[in-house]
Amino acid sequence: MKIVFTTKGSEWESAIDPRFGRTEYFLVYDEENDELSSFDNRAINDVAHGAGPQTAQKLFELQPDVLITGNGPGGNAARVLGSANIKIFVGAGEMTAKEAFEAYKKGELKEF
């Protein structure tokens, strides 16, 4: 199972970025191989319009099973993610990635 977090950094201790479209990083955890990697999304700051669909497209390419984020994607991004078979969990906006992962494991995060 591959889990992606929207984060403000590239480590387990990094805070979750509550925004989807303008998230600074994607933190990618591959459960099977216990591997942690990240994708730097900060170039999105230069995009005035359409950040949501663009970030959603990046996420799509990472092919995760689960997305863990804060506020949840907006309308345009949700349309893109709707075409992918990704489970989205929200409400982790004030946690670190590690805390969010634990909360997800315990079933404490709300499905979008």
């Binding site: 995009v47 359409g50 345009n76």
Partner: protein
């Protein structure tokens, strides 16, 4: 003659000035007031005319036709606004992000993205004696004001000669919609308030108008609040302060009821006359 009323900061009195100026002028000549703040037009709250014309406005957006599509990804590469994206075996179009540039459609090798009209808003035209009032209103959910502003400008220009005085109530700010409203104006009136916020946004508006090489002057509204910094700034930058409308509770009361100011408050009428004399004087001297 085209006169745009803009501001930088919102809530400084663009609509107050536009509507009062238009109706005062209409007492002696034909005037056209166009509300181009299409995201939230409110001049209409102060003008009770007869509806004489109404039309829907459309913008062109691509629509994906999956049958012929070769999934080459060219469309998403050429779109600067991320309005078209490819997800493996499908193309998704976001009409609200589309700027109707036709690039994806024209450059599609299989013609799989024909452009179709999508409604974005409505234009209404009212008549009140010698005042023609036109307003356009963007539909809820539409993100772009510029195409509707451009089409409204076109409507006004095709229907009415530039011999008539045309006033334009602009949106606040200094971004694309404001550029679209002011770029063809002969004169721009910048309405501000004498506060730090007013000054900050006025300087941005001044920079914008200078970049556009526009003739402009400043009207200070709510004069008496804040400080003298706006007046000092205009002096040092050699920007004419055309009029000063004093801050008063009575004005706020009249405004909140949708009433005109100049019929009730002679001092406001005096300031409006100053604005008209200044703009017309500039025109007469061929400075525009």
């Amino acid at each position: 003659m085209k006169i745009a009323i803009a501001s930088g900061k919102g809530g400084t009195g663009k609509t107050t000035l536009s509507t009062n100026l238009a109706l005062l002028l209409a007492e002696t000549e034909k005037v056209i007031l166009t509300d181009l703040d299409v995201e939230e037009p409110n001049s209409g709250l102060f003008i009770k005319g007869n509806l004489i014309h109404q039309e829907e406005k459309f913008k062109m957006v691509p629509q994906w036709n999956s049958e012929k599509c070769a999934l080459c990804g060219n469309c998403q590469k050429v779109c600067n606004f991320h309005a078209v994206i490819q997800l493996v075996d499908q193309i998704i179009v976001f009409p609200e992000l589309c700027h109707s540039c036709y690039a994806c459609s024209e450059l599609c090798p299989t013609n799989s993205l024909p452009m179709i009209p999508q409604k974005m808003g409505e234009l209404r035209e009212y008549q009140l004696d010698d005042l023609t009032f036109i307003e356009s209103r963007l539909d809820i959910g539409q993100e772009q004001a510029v195409p509707l502003i451009a089409q409204t400008n076109k409507y006004v220009d095709e229907k009415y000669s530039d011999e008539i005085i045309k006033l334009y109530d602009a949106p606040p700010g200094t971004s694309c919609p404001v550029i679209e409203v002011t770029k063809d104006a002969d004169f721009v009136i910048l309405v501000t308030e004498p506060t730090p916020f007013g000054l900050h946004d006025l300087t941005l508006a001044v920079e914008t108008m200078r970049e556009l090489d526009k003739k402009f002057g400043v009207v200070v509204n709510r004069y008496g609040i804040g400080n003298d910094d706006v007046i000092d700034y205009c002096e040092s930058e050699k920007i004419p302060v055309i009029a000063k409308i004093s801050n008063s509770r009575r004005i706020a009361e009249l405004y909140s009821r949708g009433s005109l100011l100049y019929r009730e408050i002679p001092a406001v009428k005096d300031e409006l006359v100053k604005v008209l004399d200044f703009v017309k004087g500039n025109l007469a001297r061929g400075e525009m």
